[in-house]
Point group: C3
Chain length 467, copies 3
Amino acid sequence: MSETETFPGQTVQRLPEGPATDIYEGIRDLPVISPHGHVPVEWFVDDAPFRDPTDLLITPDHYINRILHANGVDLADLGVGRDDFSPEAARNAFHLLAEHWSDFLGTPMRLWLDAELSGLFGVTKRLSPQAADEIYDTIADALATPAFRPRALLDRFNVEVLTTTDDPADDLSGHRKLAEDPTFTGRVLPTFRPDIYLEPTRPDWPSLVEKLGSAANIDTGDYAGFVEAMADRRRYFKDHGAVSSDHSHADLGSQRLPDAEATRIYAAALAGTATDAEATALRRHLFNDQARLAQDDGLVMTVHPSIARDHDLPGMQRYGANIGADIPIPASFTEPLRPLLNEYGNNPGFHFVAFTVDETMYSREIAPLAGYYRSFYIGDPWWFIDSPDAIGRFRRSVTEIAGFSRQAGFVDDTRTLCSIPARHDMSRRTIAAFLGDLVDVGRLTGDDAAQAARDLVQTNPRKVFKL
Amino acid sequence: MSETETFPGQTVQRLPEGPATDIYEGIRDLPVISPHGHVPVEWFVDDAPFRDPTDLLITPDHYINRILHANGVDLADLGVGRDDFSPEAARNAFHLLAEHWSDFLGTPMRLWLDAELSGLFGVTKRLSPQAADEIYDTIADALATPAFRPRALLDRFNVEVLTTTDDPADDLSGHRKLAEDPTFTGRVLPTFRPDIYLEPTRPDWPSLVEKLGSAANIDTGDYAGFVEAMADRRRYFKDHGAVSSDHSHADLGSQRLPDAEATRIYAAALAGTATDAEATALRRHLFNDQARLAQDDGLVMTVHPSIARDHDLPGMQRYGANIGADIPIPASFTEPLRPLLNEYGNNPGFHFVAFTVDETMYSREIAPLAGYYRSFYIGDPWWFIDSPDAIGRFRRSVTEIAGFSRQAGFVDDTRTLCSIPARHDMSRRTIAAFLGDLVDVGRLTGDDAAQAARDLVQTNPRKVFKL
Amino acid sequence: MSETETFPGQTVQRLPEGPATDIYEGIRDLPVISPHGHVPVEWFVDDAPFRDPTDLLITPDHYINRILHANGVDLADLGVGRDDFSPEAARNAFHLLAEHWSDFLGTPMRLWLDAELSGLFGVTKRLSPQAADEIYDTIADALATPAFRPRALLDRFNVEVLTTTDDPADDLSGHRKLAEDPTFTGRVLPTFRPDIYLEPTRPDWPSLVEKLGSAANIDTGDYAGFVEAMADRRRYFKDHGAVSSDHSHADLGSQRLPDAEATRIYAAALAGTATDAEATALRRHLFNDQARLAQDDGLVMTVHPSIARDHDLPGMQRYGANIGADIPIPASFTEPLRPLLNEYGNNPGFHFVAFTVDETMYSREIAPLAGYYRSFYIGDPWWFIDSPDAIGRFRRSVTEIAGFSRQAGFVDDTRTLCSIPARHDMSRRTIAAFLGDLVDVGRLTGDDAAQAARDLVQTNPRKVFKL
């Protein structure tokens, strides 16, 4: 990926000559470490070609979908929530993207897609309604070649580790097949995501509890069994390569209940007689339990709370989840996490990584907590704020408070395989721009900046995620 | 308006040579579109000369008043809340401004006033106690000429559309006279502002309800009549040129009640027996009603909630409202607006523009909502944060998330006619500075930036406000 | 302190040539005014040499401690909470700092310590495990000389005023001795900090009330006596040179109770029968009382609320308070302060300075309040955000809203004497960088910027703190 455009009108992320460029050169070719994402493992198990450019770049990408939706495109016309998407419809979706190409100006999605078009597919024209067919065909031709199969792309992208996000009841057969396949040389790991099993307010919670029990072959009819099943599934994931568990609730309340009280509410929740307040108290206790279990199995805990999922309920009913309508709400970590951090926050080997989409959290709570508690690490911005300016603001806010060693590094969180190198490259350029500024004003030497950049891109993710 | 000062010591808003200046040149002379403001329509109906410089620049301007008040000036000495302000007192008020001129350094008010003094009145000296009389006389002389009458200024300022803010019971006779006056070539539109009619907790609510009924000639003794009267007045405003309704409550709660419940609470509120919780529930329902009515009449809905109005109660009792003591409180839109957005948020033709004075809202809630819902547009910063750096922060926060097409553009919100060009020029320079930066780092081409600038200044306001 | 490093690899805070450098030259040598801090008065009374470099630079500095703790160092190994710290242990603590020196990169603590090492102790090598002993010895040798005794340092640092923070029951004998000592030429003033006496939820509140009564020789068995004792101690502090009182509670609620209600709850709280809600209501009333008393005695009121003190309870039990685990929570001032500001907020002579560690407060609440109320001044960032970028963000946020005259200036808040010049120099460079930018873009003239810089460093602190 070059610093300047490779076709006229391309958007790029240029760095100033001098320290920023030097720093970038030192990290641009480091392997990609992706400890949180949503690419399906089956892609690598099957190693089948992508169906078409829309299937590759548009349909699975909620970043792209939401902008097109806001600007009047029907999600159905992008293939979202559809099984019956014809080749003509796929080509038409690409035209819709081309017609709305200017709606992406100023966003990182435009940067990433431009980088993918030029860097990956060798496109030499700016996307436009006029050029859409030609570009579509160029990509389609590439996808038909072995070089664009998932495994080849993973290799080409220099991905050291890629993680998926998985249900605790998943048998991880895909990951097992990959691990047992001598022809696969990459490293793709599962992530334990137990959220929905910890939320007794969900109408489907009793059936989830039963599903968990079945997966673990443990009776989850009472709280003790639930904990045992959880511990079992966590170990199962760990045995299949998982390094972390991932958690997203409405808040980060972490107060433990007395065991008898947890047992009582658990039974009431299964019977459908728990109050909302009791169910919430139990959820916070069960979240604390996850941290408690991590003391033994060592899974790193990542959290990203305080988001109103599926904000557009009619939209979700029509198109499904993950259509780009997860909207942040005000967050707070300091008091909700006190019980958890007082119990485990300084334990050797326990790693807790805090992500947020509420920028106010960085200097007010996240960096202060990471600047004191040994287990508490700072996650990079994600979802709406994984963009050059926002990441720059983030880095500038947290570094003064907590230094570099408490930062866990970038996660791409993507559902789109081909966006991985562009996203990580964006992060690296943003790091280089920030550190270059610090060198320019004397607050870092060039050598220190080069080391800090390598730490943020490589040393820290490896250390924090135990890779 | 020039990029450099026209008198020694003038504050200006200079742009770097290169892309920013080029972009600015492309938008500096575009007509002013002002879809939200507080200039009285009578000024244009009567077209009377302004009484004196203080009447023009100081007394009506709560931006100026609040800074002078904070620095020890009595609001009465500025003419606030007074009918008996003598010519000597007016001149003295101008001296008070001159004495406190350095208290405005670093603020946009200083930039705007310096621009008005130099650009509009040809003042060639910096304001100071020594120069105050001379400058006062220069302005006073100008005001006595036809070129400084309100209509001539509107023309000179190249104002394409100016809007007032009006009570739903207003008969809009001023707007009618203007519309029927063949000698008036401008476009001045009313805005429907029903806030106080939706707040049953107000002691004067029963009398407001009656006033609304009288204006509509509909019995508002029950909820059904109230809704009918509201619909009638909205249509009346629309028939008189209104394009939008404007709303400011303590929060943006928008949950509908069952009709029977709304009817019951409405009756109780009229009888003075509604609880505070009921009155608040009714207010949220009535706010939702405004969005519902907009599905038919098409009025654009603008909101700017979460401000403690008239924070200084003793000050309000002495000097009246709008003295600069409306102070922000923490806001949140995501959950409160869910009912409204789930019902109407993707409807064609429904436009909802969200303003805020809580900067945390931009990347956390407003841009994410605008980046998904088709009806939801992003309003520029106003009141305390309609200033170069704050607008720059705003634009940098929302653009990465929602692009340019979801931004409604700048509103001046002013009570001071002569500040309109200076305020819009500030906005345009701030846009140019931001876009110029993006061009410098490659994230926009010069052509794209020029188009984005025109969109923000002209295309988007016209589209979003249906002008 | 020079603009460029004095040893290889030193971090510095360089300013661009031009306006910023000129502005800095105009303020760099102004005396230090430190109206809020935590250096013990006994240091100046006794004027004893510091024991060793660790006792000077590490053990008392919670800024340093928290970073080392987060990175795995045991606070006991830094001397925190220990009476038995051997010379070997002290030297070892300095080695621990050296080993973790890179963990401070990007933080202001690194800037300050590098500046102290080079500027104060003439160290010419970068701190490292290899150089730790040599640097330790260099500092230790300096500390043995008269030039490094506390009084000499205060003189050398050009400190015009230094303040301590003191318990209302303190007899201020140290301050009295200093005042009576003709050989001491500095100005070290006490600060009245009554927090804990206003919090009836504390288990030790009855004994605190009694202690206050003893100090004042007034029976605090009822509310009237408590108020009288408070007034007495405030006057006592004022008579010993205090200019301000300092306040930190969970919130800034300031609603007064009817006197009979205050009397009733006070009695109930002493008897241990007050509810939590009553105790909180009484705390807010007593906080309002402090403002009421200030109308008579004129003590400036400083507040810094909304922080979870001693967040790590096990850590506090082991090492004591002030170990760096005071973590911010979301703040709000607008509504909580309304009663206080409506009563006293425009009174001549009443000064109220608002500090916060929640950056969202600056543009949303603090600057708007300061831009209207005459008594309300803006305090600079402290604790986690007293750093170059954060202070820059602060200044850029509040200046546009409230100008320069409402800003109280920097407070160092330090427990480490030798960090005072480095901290104030950081603040001055940050001011110069910000103002230089404004000059570059035309928004300030060079002369205005030079004056604004002097105001922020000298005029305003003297005025706001009545020095």
